[in-house]
């Protein structure tokens, strides 16, 4: 009964969202209609939010007459996972996705004054997008379907790999990022529909865009971290198709935020800004399509149902084609009156826009080409890390060099950048010496690794000089840009060292014996069967003595979950600031020895720390009082 109330509320919300959209786009706008639209949207949102809260309550109280809850939750689960089970599969996670989308619209609705000329149209566009997705949810993936008359007593279970705090937070954070770009998207469409090129709309969406970007950054990093310690993948990035569809909007969003700050300052790059706002949201929708249409097999994809895929494709297609048509038809309106000066800050940002566009195109190719190829020639090909590395590394290095030079450039002025000026020369000399030292120290001539370290070191040293000048010479410094770019430099250096130094090996060890690996003694102390609440496991115990004589224990496990019979590996990781020692156990061989996989991962923590630092810069910007920041 309660589930029907929830169902009904979301139906009602769909109707009201439709009305809000209809009023804003098809009824001539007056102050009366703007108020009406705003109020209708808020009411619709409250209905949808109540519907979702009731649904959460149904999950918490183990209402297994709801088919989705029965299939994905279990009465034995802690409350935390009963809630997160809602987004452990397609229907519920789509529901959450839509609710998040409506929350962004709602906050925009209450934060922006009704007199704002673009507000009604922006709200209207958000409403229509919500209607489309709500219909998708209700018609093709109904989370409210019930099993009657007899409901199962205990439910099934949430996928064990999802029973993890990081994973309970990872999808919601990522979704908040994806759908957050609906605000810049809808605003730029509203601007195009309105047709008055004098409106300075860019400034009002700055913080919204940065906020969505922060969520996306954190969401992607959480996913990377989770795959490392919970899935036992042993690394931070795998170019998995679904990682790629999250990376594309992130790259587009990063380019978008930079373009946006140019447009705010000088109304330049408006074409880029608008095109990128369309691209970011389209790529977010594309991500939803890829994951939910079952077109790609991946750890992330949901069950295959061509019906859903077709609906999503049609709806997303309409959104993208309409916005591109609108963009084309209003092109003359957003054309800049003057050209960008060469060597100005704007010019560097537009060069990097092109480079980011190239990266996005390369990933798009990597994701879709195997699909199209298989369709046309009936042969499977796989595009993996070598392809992406070959394209990414040189372009990222190039983009970093432009970033490095742009530090000395000025807005709207094409002053010549003197390569022998002190800060540039100092950073360059420092970085060259650093790279040569690294090359000798670690005996490497891998040009791409050395170049990446060089690029990272250039950025870090250049921004350190800026911070130094800010502290002692009171020179102006944009703190958000400095921190975010320092984080980028750190990211480049950490990734390079990680791929340069990290090693792994599968060892065969018998109980009470030891193997040596990289100056470490891995001693196999003990192995026993243990029982958890919903699984049994073999738990091995290793004592590791490192080159300095430090001792520590690592206890990797292999678990078998009762309900689904699924087997998972529980990694054991010894963390130090410089390196992780990462242990997983495999199977027992016939001679009684066990396969133990050991990895030494250098600076892997620093990769996530860099991402956190980038997000931190974004958060600082969101909470800053000053209005003219980039």
């Amino acid at each position: 009964m309660i589930v029907e109330i929830s169902h009904f509320l979301s139906l009602l919300a769909t109707g009201l969202f439709f009305l809000a959209g209809y009023f804003s786009l098809f009824v001539s706008s007056t102050s009366y209609t703007s108020n009406l639209i705003s109020r209708t949207y808020s009411q619709a949102f409250l209905l949808l939010a109540s519907s979702f809260l009731i649904y959460v309550w149904l999950a918490v109280t183990d209402n297994f007459s709801v088919e989705y809850i029965a299939n994905h939750s279990n009465s034995a689960l802690p409350i935390f996972y009963k809630v997160s089970s809602i987004w452990s599969a397609h229907e519920g996670s789509m529901f959450l996705w839509i609710v998040f989308l409506s929350i962004w619209g709602f906050i925009f609705n209450i934060a922006v004054n009704n007199n704002d000329i673009l507000k009604p149209k922006t709200i209207g566009i958000v409403s229509f997008i919500l209607v489309g997705f709500l219909l998708f949810l209700l018609l093709t993936s109904n989370p409210f379907a019930t099993i009657l008359p007899i409901a199962p007593i205990n439910g099934a279970d949430i996928n064990p790999v999802l029973q993890d705090p990081a994973l309970a937070i990872h999808p919601p954070t990522l979704y908040l990022g994806y759908v957050g770009f609906v605000i810049p998207f809808a605003s730029s469409l509203a601007f195009l529909i309105n047709g008055d090129s004098n409106i300075k709309w860019e400034k009002s969406i700055k913080k919204w865009s940065v906020m969505a970007w922060v969520f996306l950054t954190i969401g992607i990093s959480l996913g990377s971290w989770w795959a490392y310690y919970e899935l036992g993948w042993g690394g931070y990035w795998f170019w998995d198709p679904v990682e790629n569809v999250a990376l594309m909007p992130w790259l587009a969003a990063t380019a978008f935020i930079h373009s946006l700050s140019v447009s705010i300052k000088s109304s330049h790059l408006r074409i880029w800004t608008i095109l990128l706002s369309i691209l970011v949201f389209s790529l977010s929708l594309f991500g939803a399509f890829i994951v939910r249409s079952g077109i790609i097999d991946s750890v992330h994809s949901f069950a295959n149902d061509p019906q859903r895929g077709l609906y999503l494709l049609a709806f997303i297609g309409i959104i993208i084609v309409t916005s591109v048509l609108l963009f084309i038809s209003r092109f003359s309106m957003i054309k800049p009156s003057s050209n960008i000066k060469t060597l100005s800050k704007e010019s560097f940002i537009s060069i990097n826009n092109i480079l980011f566009g190239t990266l996005i195109f390369a990933i798009m190719l990597g994701v879709t080409y195997p699909l199209f190829y298989e369709y046309l020639f009936d042969q499977k090909i796989s595009v993996g890390a070598p392809f992406y590395n070959a394209i990414f590394i040189p372009i990222v290095i190039l983009a970093s060099l432009f970033l490095f030079l742009s530090v000395d450039s000025k807005w709207s002025r094409g002053i010549t950048i003197d390569l022998f000026k002190k800060p540039i020369a100092f950073s360059a000399i420092f970085s060259i010496i650093f790279v040569i030292t690294i090359s000798f120290l670690f005996n490497t001539t891998d040009i791409f690794i050395l170049l990446s370290i060089f690029a990272g070191s250039l950025i870090i040293s250049r921004y350190f000089i800026e911070i130094f000048r800010y502290l002692f010479n009171k020179k102006y410094l944009n703190p958000y840009s400095a921190i975010a770019h320092l984080a980028l430099g750190l990211l480049l250096v950490s990734i390079s060292f990680n791929s340069l130094l990290s090693t792994e090996r599968a060892l065969n060890i018998k109980l009470n014996e030891y193997e040596e690996y990289e100056d470490m003694k891995v001693y196999f102390k003990d192995i026993k069967l243990i029982e958890g609440s919903n699984y049994d496991a073999v738990k091995a115990s290793f004592n590791i003595e490192d080159e300095k004589g430090n001792n520590f224990n690592l206890n990797p496990e292999k678990r078998r979950y009762f309900t689904r019979g699924q087997i998972t590996t529980e990694t054991a990781i010894h963390i130090t600031p410089i390196k992780d020692i990462y242990l997983t156990i495999g199977d027992q061989l016939d001679d009684g020895s066990w396969i133990v996989n050991i990895q030494i991962n250098f600076l892997i923590r620093w990769i996530w720390f860099s991402a956190a630092l980038m997000s931190f810069a974004g958060i600082m910007l969101i909470f800053s009082k000053k209005k003219s920041n980039i």
Partner: protein, 174 residues
Amino acid sequence: MKILLKITVLLIPIIFIFMFFFLLTEKKPYPGADYKEFPIPNFNLESLYESEPLTNVDLRGDYIINIWASWCITCRIEHPYLMNLKNKRIPIIGINYKDERYDAIEWLGRYGDPYDKIIYDFKGLLALDLGVTGAPETFLVHDGVIVAHYQGEINNSIWSDVFDPIIKEKEMFK
């Protein structure tokens, strides 16, 4: 903006949309499936772990043969499903195909070993006799005779659509 550029900007999403439309509506009744019956060819190869000889005599009853390799990315995607079959007590004979022994053992160590026996086919000799074109491929074997063959990754829907009818018909895995 030149008209050509405008058309290009519009065409890119439209082409993608149509390609995906064709992908989604494609109705291929499992092009990778093949029901030609033939006996397991004679072979004499080593096992992956112990390097002991393995021949036809070592394979008895009903089982599936799975061709895999550590270099094969699709095999990794397929792998959880094989673990699932193992839990359902379906015997799986692995043929490690054109792979380095060390890499293969490490791969199994990392992801788990779903196989009852693993034939180490470095030169692809047995695979050639079986008509294998790549990895992964899977054969359904009933009393020494191959009764179904699937090229590509197997999963739940392929198992129920391609293999299950034969399994029911021949009353296998009893």
